[in-house]
């Protein structure tokens, strides 16, 4: 059997930020089945894992990590113990550390901004802007 080891700078970077190498993912799809926001994602969570395993850099363009609400359902259900929310965070962090802002505060609906609990605003900005 031919074995090919994919060396990927993207995967190394994700390992560095998240502490997760995700090579043990065997594509059961339980994360995607559990994810409440999978229907909104370009790549559903197990596809994100597979793309990173293969070193496909285009995964950085997917909207998937921005739809992750860090609800941790995938993480607690993963039979391989993969820290999927940490990987999603790493994908966000790679972009945010390049000075990219997913959310511009000026575009938030004024009504929402005045009535949303501060915990929502603080956690949202933690995820969407740096």
């Amino acid at each position: 059997m031919l074995k090919v080891k994919v060396w990927s700078p993207l995967r190394e970077r994700i390992l560095e930020i998240s502490g997760e190498d995700l090579l043990s993912c065997y594509q059961c799809g339980r994360c995607s089945a559990s994810c409440p926001f999978a229907p909104y994602m370009d790549l559903i969570p197990n596809m994100v894992m597979r793309s990173i395993q293969l070193g496909i850099e285009d995964v950085l363009k997917a909207n998937s990590p921005w739809f992750c609400a860090t609800c941790l359902t995938c993480k607690v259900r993963c039979p391989r113990g993969i820290k999927i929310p940490e990987v999603m965070e790493a994908l966000r962090e790679i972009r945010l550390r390049e000075k990219y802002d997913y959310l511009n505060p000026l575009t938030i609906d004024q009504e929402l901004l005045t009535e949303c609990p501060p915990m929502g605003i603080v956690s949202g900005f933690n995820k969407y802007s740096k």
Binding site: T70, L72, E115, P118
Partner: protein, 289 residues
């Protein structure tokens, strides 16, 4: 029973109904909550990235200061509870992290401040079975679905409050108030959380699934411990009403406790779905809002 109390950012403004009903209920039950003299925002969300230590500083400092008070620390907000417990877990399992944070903050914290959710205090220190002796109002006509959300439970290994897939603490609490509990598989599903800031449709869909689900099982109201869940579940029902789904009131569990204890003028200032008609109908003249 005496505890330190950490309200966190939201209980001082958007969830003051939660704070108020909890403080007053505790007083009636003989639980003394001593607010921490100096507290700071916990950062609201636990950092998922491993190489990013700055978000740990604020919650670590809260814990270090709380330790000086010498009492167990009680929180109400699910996010605060989650963050403080996970920071404790992290520093207890990573000596390097503990030393780094202590050095940076010039503290000498050992990761040993006990953090409790009010539900735990009611279960373990007061005892759910002992609540009946404080009963002033009959809540047996209320049909309430307990809703836990995410951060009160997950990950169980670090939080340890209850089973992360089928928690029962809030169910048992509501039962002990004589309320008819409507259990549902939606009790641990995410409400959309901070996605509300960026995607209305996704949040609405999550709320729709929860509200539709619990209503189908016969729930006439929801009880939660998370101000952000409370906001999402309450706010988006106006949209659902346009789709023909009659709104149901959303309560903090402490508001139901306050009702049970017969406290007067319980505030429901942030509720968009009106609660008073429902309470008047189910509790009758006994309700003094």
């Amino acid at each position: 029973m005496r505890y330190s109390y950490y309200p966190g950012c939201t209980l001082y403004n958007k969830a003051k109904d939660f704070d108020d009903s909890a403080r007053r209920s505790c007083q009636a039950l003989g639980i003394e909550l001593v607010e921490l003299p100096h507290w700071y925002c916990c950062g609201a969300i636990y950092p998922q990235s491993q190489d990013h230590k700055i978000p740990l500083i604020a919650p670590f400092r809260v814990l270090a200061k709380a330790k000086n008070e010498g009492l167990d620390l009680v929180t109400l907000c699910s996010f605060c509870y989650h963050v403080l417990k996970r920071v404790n877990y992290a520093v207890n399992n990573d000596k390097e992290k503990l030393d780094l944070l202590n050095d940076f903050l010039n503290e000498n914290y050992r990761g040993d401040q006990k953090v409790l959710h009010l539900l735990e205090v009611l279960r373990d220190d007061v005892g759910f079975d002992r609540l009946a002796q404080y009963q002033k109002k009959d809540l047996s006509k209320l049909k309430v679905a307990p809703y836990y959300g995410c951060y009160l439970l997950r990950p169980q290994r670090e939080i340890g409050l209850d089973d992360q897939e089928n928690p029962m603490i809030l169910n048992h609490f509501l039962s002990s108030l004589g309320i008819e509990v409507i259990d549902s598989p939606h009790k641990v599903e995410c409400c959309g959380s901070y996605l509300v800031l960026v995607n209305r449709d996704a949040t609405l869909a999550a709320v729709r699934r929860i509200i539709e689900g619990v209503k189908r099982l016969g729930a006439e109201a929801i009880a939660t411990s998370c101000p952000l869940c409370h906001y999402n579940l309450d706010k988006f029902q106006a949209e659902l009403k346009k789709e023909g789904l009659e709104p149901i009131p959303v309560f903090y569990f402490t508001q139901l406790l306050a009702l049970f204890l017969g406290l007067e003028r319980i505030s429901f200032t942030t509720n968009k779905v009106p609660v008073e008609p429902y309470l008047r109908e189910k509790i009758g003249d006994g309700y003094s809002g």
